[in-house]
């Protein structure tokens, strides 16, 4: 017994030590590489690297794939008897208000449909005395004037406006002007009236929130830009550790004009919520399998589609 024990120990020793050393070397090499090179974030027209290894590793996770799997799982039709219990459980966890849901819970065939549930009529009265209203239910992450191209926030995300909205060529400036213009000029170039200012509002939709979004005002859409990208979490706790996250994630931006001038309405996807549907834009397809993560966008002209204040505009779907 003793001889066999010594022989087995020796065998494990000979096998285990080289394997352990090999894995350790591999891990150290990866750590060193990621720490030096990081993940390109591209802030201010130059590659800025996320040197924090945890953030870099997070960016490398296959979140688009897992989101699609989650979308497939949650689209499976549930037994009618189980629906109220399961949706009630979901509502309890994420603090969703079931009293304002229009339909009976058993009417939603799957979690995807419950996620984009319609609310009772007049559950969201539209403020008539305001020219700009909230486009969605959620938490206000940030609001205020935008004076610089690089939008820095005190407690939230930092992102580059040019990357977020895309090339300014499509707005007002030509290529030569684009190359020479200063960052602040970009913000000014968006304005129809130079005496005005550009303002922003960022609303975060938590999992329990109503996930349809509406038009904040009467406006005309000129074109849409669809930016493929990652599906990182946009939870406020994550945002502050990942600069330029809004420009990394998949998003659709609708650009147009309202009574006050320029307007851009962007729906930014997130982990497990990468499917964006906009009712007046049937050709939009997000989080598709065959779309590589590139820096380019796909533009579509919507021909000045008119959208009224408070009108249902689109929805974020699971997947």
């Amino acid at each position: 017994v003793s001889a066999r024990f010594v022989r087995n120990t020796s065998r494990w020793w000979r096998l285990g030590v080289p394997t352990g050393v090999g894995f350790s070397l591999l891990a150290a090499t990866q750590w060193n590489y990621l720490h030096k090179h990081g993940y390109p974030v591209d802030v201010d027209d130059r590659p800025e690297l996320l040197n924090d290894v945890i953030a870099t590793c997070y960016c490398c996770l296959p979140l688009r794939t897992t989101s699609r799997i989650w979308g497939w799982l949650t689209s499976i039709e549930l037994p009618v008897g189980l629906r109220p219990t399961l949706y009630g459980f979901y509502a309890n966890i994420f603090h969703a208000d079931l009293d304002e849901v229009e339909l009976d819970l058993s009417a939603f065939p799957n979690l995807v449909e419950f996620f984009v549930r319609k609310l009772k009529q007049n559950a969201r009265p539209i403020a008539q005395n305001a020219n700009m209203t909230s486009p969605a239910d959620g938490k206000v992450l940030y609001f205020g004037p935008v004076t610089s191209c690089r939008v820095e926030q005190v407690k939230g995300a930092t992102y580059d406006l040019r990357q977020f909205l895309g090339d300014p060529n499509g707005f007002t400036l030509n290529q030569i002007a684009k190359e020479t213009m200063q960052k602040d000029d970009y913000v000014n170039s968006l304005l129809k009236n130079p005496d005005n200012r550009l303002y922003q509002l960022i609303v975060y939709l938590a999992p329990g929130d109503y996930h349809r979004f509406h038009s904040p005002t009467d406006w005309n859409i000129k074109f849409r830009r669809h930016f493929p990208g990652k599906l990182l979490s946009v939870n406020p706790k994550v945002l502050k550790y990942l600069p330029n996250l809004f420009s990394l994630n998949e998003r659709v931006v609708y650009v147009g004009e309202w009574a006050g001038g320029f307007m851009a309405y962007a729906a930014v996807g997130a982990t497990n919520v990468g499917s964006i549907r906009v009712y007046c834009d049937r050709e939009l397809a997000t989080n598709t399998v065959h779309w590589p993560e590139t820096v380019h966008w796909k533009e579509a002209c919507l021909g000045c589609a008119r959208v009224a204040k408070g009108e249902l505009f689109g929805e974020f779907r699971l997947g």
Partner: protein, 32 residues
């Protein structure tokens, strides 16, 4: 998921919001 709204408005545009507050669809953004 997140909605980002960028819009042009006069310089005296005032938001009637607080950072971190919850907001509902149709709620006024400014006091005007």
């Amino acid at each position: 998921s997140t909605i980002v709204l960028l819009f042009e408005a006069p310089r005296d545009f005032q938001f009637c919001l607080q950072i971190g507050q919850t907001i509902k669809v149709g709620q006024a953004l400014s006091a005007l």
